[in-house]
Amino acid sequence: MKSIIFFLAIALLAGCKGPSGDSGQKSGEASGGEVTVYTHRHYENDQKIFDRFEDSTGIKVNVVKAHADELIQRMIREGEHSPADVLTTVDAGRLVRARQEGLLQPIQSARLDSIIPSHLRNPKGYWFAFTKRARIIAYSKERVQPDALSTYEALTDERWDDRVLVRSSSHIYNQSLLASIIAHHDGDYARKWADGLVENFARQPRGHDSDQIKAIYADEGDVAIVNTYYLGKMLNSEDPQEVKAAKQVELFFPNQEGRGAHVNVSGAGVAKHAPNKENAKLFLEFLASKPIQENLSSSNYEHPVNPNAELPELLKSWGDFKEDTLQLSRLGELNKKAVMIFDKVGWK
């Protein structure tokens, strides 16, 4: 037993150096240096992107993965001593909050400005979107005629009574969707809409987006509000049951006659006190480059922000769609209002 403890202690000491311990590690290399990324993205493929960045630039990537809220709290507490160079989140709302908390700094990059459409980045360069996720309506191929679907707003119609599936309101994707409805209408309308949707719920919200698609397969409801890339993940899942469930549904991009389908993003900004600001900028430009954009959309089924990036087959099959070009920072500003409406109408 003693020898086991000793062995472990040695292994730990060898393996777990603190952040200050490895700053000099790569200094011998040509371009060298490092970049510390605080990220909410925990996709397996992201590590490969970090590796590719290391290979092509010689800049070592330190990664801290956690929930964006925890990362923001951590950056607030660390203040000017924070080792973070880049903050990556899976929604626009949290980037806006980080910006409001003064955790980000503006970056001037002609490359980023030319690649990324203007509604998908902060006008002053505080943050940039790198992938898009459309929040759309998935419907049962068997039980729903696509021409019955039109807009998010129409989901409160009586015909959808007891048929709508959606996850809990604690998730940012739903909060952003409601924020977009507040932005396009107003608070009162948004409350009525949320109220009407709760009336039409097939069941109390629970589970993830993919669980809503499974619930369609299980005949618990007929339409579900989900993000496109979850359907992509299910269709490519190792679990045959997930593939089966995903094949029972079809995607519908709502509001195509009007403002377009609601789109949220995964994005990143450079930290206010970034010790390696130049490396951070290089890293963001790397993320926007065509090969990485193609990698992101083929591995995670998100839509690329780089218009030159080739879409994978599955995304092509979903077809082009009109997206809501609402300035994303509005989503962040209206987030709290959206959450309060959810609480008032009892959307769990």
């Binding site: 993919s210 979850y230 899942s237």
Partner: protein
């Protein structure tokens, strides 16, 4: 107690009773209390602006669901935990020796993973409905994603806390008591209800306290099943409503509930003494079960094992088999090593602190020192994420001071020294899991009683000497349980680890959570299985150790 006289008397009493042991106890308690103190101080900033919104629309739901969870999980974990502990310590039946430790294994599965596994087992697309449909039975699955389902799943994941402490109590009950009871004409079941159960009450209550604290701390399972509890409410107010103050107020209510429960547990124990002198112990003679009884007992004991371990494990193995090629890489081994090492170090440190907190207060006569020591274990009642913030605030302040100091006097920019080290993480685990170690150690020390150590003291041995030579060997089972329980808890812990872990360290729980929260539940199986296998080996080893 007013005026000069009261204060003077108090002070004189303090001077008389204060010893170096009091100082050590107070110091240890204060070190442990830093995060809680930090949070408590921030209560004085007043409730946040969202407080009115929360009380108007959400608080009722939180209260009702939380009370339902407390009652439901208490009943179910007592049912599973006490019954299995009784049968394995009083009866002999085929497979008993293995079941003794297999019954602890559900603890190896993080509650939220059990919750995911149950969705995978009993949902419409779950393994069991599909298998039965293939077999021609039209079983549509069970909808577990609701409040009763959450009670069921949490109880299956947590009943071992009751089982472990109750079994220790039953095994240590004097054999002669049983002989006398049976000679007096009590039937075995009467002996159970009239003698064994009341005597085991402190241990059962201690186990139940752990269960309830875990229940009230659970975030992952409740969130996934769509049940609003205080803990999900804390996250909602903090992160969705952007109001940390309201979150801190909600945690204050949660802590009040926990304290009420702790007080109730103390009250039911009152001043009764449950210690039995060793001379009456003649070892335990198990009843050899036969025929129908044998099958019945084996069946009852197998229920929690089947539902709490074998079924979820089967689902995880299935997921693991279909995803392992995607998940397994060179980093995996390193991750296992990190997780295991951190957990072991934290478990040893925490158990040592618990031992000190159990014994040092009894070595001095200072008034109120025992409740003080007990209150140092309250970290378990507070959600991990909040403790992490409670640790970040003071340690970052200390770091800032050190950075400024080094800059000014030595012109060296040191960066953050304290934060992002293993030490902070281990400290956080100690604060959070002290109760887990404290309860079995305390229960074991109550079992030893006062006579042996008193004799040792009369013969001239010092207090630490007595502890080392007399009590420590007798405490072995309690200490080993403490280490095992903290180890398993640390290996599973998530929110604190996410916030406080060093950059290079990746733990299995963090990895599993990453997959699960990204809706790749099947991929979460392999790291989960590693947690389970590691814990299983550990528990098996400890069981062997205590058995001899």
């Amino acid at each position: 107690m007013t005026g000069k006289w009261g204060v003077g008397k108090l002070f004189r009493r303090f001077r008389r009773d204060f010893s170096s042991w009091s100082a050590w106890t107070l110091l240890l308690g204060m070190i442990i209390g830093i995060p809680v103190f930090t949070i408590a101080v921030s209560l004085f900033n007043g409730p946040g602006q969202m407080w009115g919104h929360v009380t108007q629309h959400l608080l009722d739901d939180y209260l009702i669901n939380t009370i339902f969870l407390i009652i439901g999980c208490s009943l179910l974990t007592l049912l599973f935990g006490v019954s299995s502990a009784w049968f394995v310590s009083e009866y002999d039946f085929p497979g008993r020796r293995h079941l003794e430790w297999i019954l602890i294994l559900p603890l190896a599965i993080p509650a939220y993973i059990t919750a995911y596994a149950y969705k995978g087992l009993f949902g419409y697309l779950g393994s069991i409905p599909i298998l039965s449909r293939q077999a021609g039975i039209p079983f549509q699955g069970i909808d577990l994603m609701n409040l009763p389902g959450l009670v069921f799943v949490l109880s299956l994941a947590l009943y071992p806390y009751v089982y472990v402490s109750t079994r220790v109590a039953f095994l240590r009950q004097a054999g002669r008591l049983k002989e006398v009871s049976l000679l007096m004409g009590l039937k075995p079941h009467q002996y159970f209800f009239r003698v064994a159960l009341p005597l085991a009450r402190p241990a059962i209550a201690a186990g139940l306290m752990l269960v309830l604290m875990e229940v009230l701390n659970d975030y992952g399972a409740a969130h996934y099943y769509g049940v609003n509890t205080f803990t999900t409410g804390i996250f909602r107010s903090w992160f969705s409503l952007e109001d940390p103050q309201t979150a801190i107020y909600l945690s204050a209510i949660l802590v009040t509930i926990i304290f009420a429960l702790l007080w109730a547990e103390k009250w039911q124990r009152r001043k009764k003494s449950y210690s039995l002198t060793a001379q009456f112990s003649t070892g335990n003679h198990r009843i050899r079960a036969r025929g129908k009884t044998k099958a019945g007992i084996a069946g009852i004991v197998l229920i929690p094992v089947l539902f709490g371990f074998i079924l979820p494990l089967g689902q995880l193995i299935y997921w693991g088999v279909i995803t392992w090629t995607r998940v397994l890489d060179a980093q995996f081994f390193q991750m296992v090593l990190h997780s295991f090492g951190i957990a072991l170090i934290s478990a040893l440190v925490t158990t040592l602190a618990a031992l000190m907190l159990v014994y040092m207060p009894s070595w001095n006569r200072l008034q109120g020192i025992k409740p003080f020591a007990r209150s140092a274990t309250m970290g378990y009642a507070i959600p991990g994420a909040i403790i992490a913030i409670g640790i970040l605030i003071p340690t970052l302040a200390a770091d800032k001071f050190l950075i400024d100091f080094m800059n000014e006097y030595f012109s060296i920019n040191t960066g953050l020294i304290i934060n992002g080290t293993i030490a902070v993480l281990v400290y956080a685990y100690m604060v959070r899991f002290l109760t887990v170690a404290y309860n079995p150690v305390e229960a074991a020390s109550l079992k030893i009683g006062k006579h042996l150590p008193e004799s040792s003291r009369l013969l001239g041995s010092s207090r630490p000497g007595t502890l080392r030579k007399i009590e420590l060997p007798l405490l072995k089972t309690g200490l080993v349980s403490a280490v095992a329980l903290v180890f398993v808890d640390v290996l599973k812990e998530l929110p604190m680890t996410l916030i406080l872990k060093p950059y290079q360290v990746n733990t299995l729980a963090v990895k599993a959570y990453g997959y699960a929260s990204d809706e790749m539940v099947a991929e979460a199986a392999l790291p989960s299985l590693c947690i389970i296998v590691t814990c299983a080996i550990f528990i098996w080893y400890l069981n062997k150790l205590t058995g001899t």
